[in-house]
């Protein structure tokens, strides 16, 4: 791999994770929360891609990192779909999507 150093990518990934966790801990709006989770998750996906590229061309290594990243993107999409379904249900039931108010699992 040429160009930017590995540490830069990893730093970006760490920053993304920090932003994601910060968002998870502070957002009360369910949609914003989902976005924060998405950001945190993307930091992990980024790591896969970065290491996949880093080892690219070294004998014995393939494109496992990039492949996993694609799977994870799919996973993140399904997760968001489920999350949004919950948001809709919550909105219908409570008229609010504030997660701090949804403290019980059963109504």
């Amino acid at each position: 791999m040429t160009g930017l150093p590995l540490a830069g990518f990893l730093a970006l990934s760490a920053v993304l994770l920090g932003i994601g966790i910060f968002g998870i801990l502070t957002r009360r709006n369910f949609i914003l929360l989902l976005i924060a989770i998405e950001v945190a998750m993307n930091s992990a996906i980024l790591n896969f891609v970065v290491f996949g590229a880093y080892w690219g061309g070294v004998p014995g290594y393939g494109i496992e990192g990039q492949s996993v990243a694609v799977v994870l993107i799919g996973l993140a999409a399904t997760e968001v779909a489920v999350g949004l379904a919950i948001v809709l249900a919550l909105n219908r039931l409570r008229g609010s999507i504030n997660v701090a108010e949804a403290t019980v699992l059963k109504l």
Binding site: I21, I24, L25, R28, L33, V99, A100, A102, T103, V104, L105
Partner: protein
């Protein structure tokens, strides 16, 4: 040998069974009978059957002396490995043993038991709880008869305990009265001390004597007193002498508890809280006789070591004097007689310890009759005047003619005036101890005590007689006018009067005297019937003189309505107070109970409450407080959980990358 009545011996188990059946009938159906006295007649019937059968068996034993066992009922067997060590392969057999000892006791227990039952019917008619009374009295009698016929120590112990629990019920018959309830408890607890010792003694005998030799078949037979015609004693392989002595002392402890010997004598005078009939039964036939009988059975079948014998003599001799001294000052008619029983039991124990077992039983035999007589006569007095205080009575011989004569005969017999029953047996005891003391100088002090007691005995019993019956009128004018008791009460008094006169001389009949030679195949037990050498006659003259002196002293001090009162500044006052306070033994026991036992109990209660319970409750509180606090973490807010995850992750990372590398043991450093 077989006599005409031997066919009855296998049926000996019916003797205790008859009152036991009466117990079941009265106990179950007594309350539903149209008149409650009917239960009394059922009990009388049970006692009557027991008496007829018991006396017939005793007569059969007289006609063909010997030892007859029936061991057909094997209750249970413990599995064994064939080594014969107790309790390996041990069987508990419930058998009956008819031998001279049990024949004597059968006569005493059934006759006195029947007469007391008969007397109860009218004596108790004013009381409530009659079915309970008759049921318990029948069970009492049945247990004592079972004990008398027991053929091994464990069976003996079972009935012994039944006797104990019945005495508890009956002493506490008036359980509404706190004094009666506490007297019952006291009797139960004090005799329980003896019972534990007794059980220890049984264990030592079993454990010691089963291990080798003929014991192999013997544990399996349940340690009968008599095995293949030979007594326990001859079957023993040589026991460890220390343990043998210890077992004897433990047996003595059991007997002392039951027979109210020093220092376990406190319960008997207090047991006077029960109905007088119960006192008569306890004192004459059932309860206290069991202890003496235990000593007799042990000495005949097993034997005592020299140390045991001395201990028995010492306790018996001392108790004789100790109890008689307290009887001299008491003002309760029943308590005086109760102390008298303790004292007379001392004579029996003394004789057994001195090696004259059958002399002890002889005294038990005569004592049962005159003591029952004294109690029944005292009961008639109490029935008539409704008080037990001697100083309120007086002049009752005019209205209670039969009772006063009965009491007089009992008193003369107790005082040892010839030719009444008590004279022969008490004299026999004294001359036996005299004989024993020739070879055992250590017995002399106890012989002297026993001899001095003769005077005291005559004095205290005639003090009672003069205070109750002589004089012109009762000292307390508010006493209700006395009336003679109905026939059911006077007939037993008359029969017992006859027995109190004759029972002593009966042993000169060869057949009856034969009972007192302890059967065939056993070590000879001399002493009954009494022989009269010059020394014996001399002893008799002195003891009769002492008895007469005691009666005379009582007459001078208390006769014809006189009331002797000790001057306030008399030197004898402290002694009188000491005796009235029962040598402060009761006070000491109470003090011990209140101070020591109660303090220990309170300490243990503290340990229980604060240390044991405290620990348990402490854990309980710890976890409940903890959960109350930790519950707040479960807020239900997703964001909080997210925070825990993050914090948990951070802690984990810190652990993994900071702490682990710093500690070599964990693979770092």
């Amino acid at each position: 040998m077989s006599g005409p009545l031997n066919a009855l011996f296998p049926w000996a188990f019916l003797v205790p069974l008859a009152p036991a059946i009466a117990f079941v009938i009265v106990g179950l159906f007594g309350r539903r009978m149209r008149r409650l006295e009917w239960g009394g007649w059922v009990a009388v019937g049970g006692a009557f059957v027991a008496m007829v059968l018991g006396v017939l068996i005793a007569v059969g034993e007289m006609l063909s002396p010997g030892t007859y066992t029936d061991r057909s009922f094997n209750w249970f067997t413990l599995p064994g490995n064939g080594t014969g060590t107790f309790p390996n392969g041990f069987s508990l057999v419930m058998g009956t043993l008819v031998d001279p000892l049990s024949a004597i006791m059968l006569i005493v227990v059934t006759v006195v038991g029947f007469l007391v039952m008969l007397y109860s019917v009218d004596y108790m008619h004013r009381d409530t709880g009659l079915p309970r009374y008759y049921a318990e009295l029948s069970l009492f009698l049945a247990s004592m008869l079972g004990l008398v016929l027991a053929d091994n120590l464990l069976q003996f112990f079972l009935f012994w305990e039944l006797v104990g629990v019945c005495s508890y019920f009956l002493i506490g018959f008036y359980y509404q009265r706190p004094a009666a309830a506490s007297a019952a408890k006291e009797a139960f607890l004090v005799t329980r001390v003896g019972d534990v010792l007794f059980l220890g003694g049984i264990y030592i005998y079993f454990q010691q004597f089963a291990t080798a030799g003929p014991g192999l078949g013997w544990a399996a037979a349940g340690f009968p007193f008599v095995f293949h015609g030979a007594p326990f004693l001859t079957l023993l392989h040589p026991p460890n002498p220390t343990l043998f002595t210890l077992a004897g002392l433990l047996i003595l402890g059991g007997a002392a508890g039951k027979s109210a010997q020093f220092p376990l004598d406190v319960w008997l005078p207090d047991a006077m809280e029960g109905p007088t009939t119960v006192s008569a039964l306890i004192h004459a036939a059932t309860m206290v006789a069991a202890g003496v009988y235990l000593l007799a059975v042990t000495s005949v079948f097993i034997g005592f070591s020299a140390t045991d014998s001395f201990a028995i003599v010492a306790i018996g001799g001392f108790t004789t004097f100790w109890a008689a001294s307290m009887a001299m000052v008491n003002r309760d008619i029943k308590r005086v007689i109760a102390y008298s029983t303790v004292s007379q039991l001392g004579y029996m124990v003394l004789a057994i310890g001195a090696g004259f077992t059958m002399v002890g039983l002889y005294h038990l035999f005569t004592h049962a009759f005159f003591k029952a007589l004294l109690f029944l006569a005292a009961g008639a007095v109490i029935h008539a005047v409704d008080t037990q205080d001697l100083f309120k009575m007086g002049g009752l011989r005019k209205t209670l003619r039969i009772t006063s004569i009965g009491f007089l005969i009992g008193g003369l017999s107790l005082a040892g005036i010839p030719p009444l029953a008590g004279f022969f047996s008490k004299d026999d005891v004294l001359s036996s101890v005299y004989t024993a003391a020739q070879t055992h100088p250590m017995y002399w002090p106890f012989f002297v005590l026993a001899f001095a007691t003769v005077f005291m005995t005559a004095y205290y019993i005639f003090r009672v007689w003069f205070l109750t019956f002589s004089g012109d009128r009762p000292r307390d004018p508010t006493l209700p006018p006395a009336h003679e008791a109905p026939w059911t009460m006077t007939v037993p008094i008359l029969i017992l009067s006859g027995l109190a006169i004759l029972a002593g001389a009966l042993v000169f009949v060869p057949q009856i005297g034969g009972l007192f030679t302890a059967g065939v195949g056993f070590p000879a037990t001399p002493g009954v019937p009494p022989t009269y050498t010059t020394t014996d006659i001399l002893l008799s003259v002195v003891s009769v003189g002492l008895g007469a002196g005691g009666i005379l002293t009582a007459y001078v001090l208390w006769g014809n309505g006189r009331v002797f009162s000790l001057a306030e500044d008399s030197a004898a006052q402290p002694i009188r107070r000491l005796l009235l306070e029962r040598y402060y033994v009761k006070t000491a026991v109470d003090w011990f109970g209140l101070r020591v036992v109660y303090a220990v109990s309170r300490f243990l209660d503290f340990v229980d409450e604060y240390i044991i319970d405290g620990t348990v409750h402490g854990f309980e509180r710890l976890f409940s407080e903890l959960s109350i606090r930790l519950r707040r973490l479960q807020s239900g807010v997703v964001l909080d959980y997210a925070a825990y995850v993050v914090v948990g992750l951070a802690v984990f990372l810190v652990f993994l990358y900071v702490i682990v590398p710093a500690i070599p043991a964990l693979g770092g450093g």
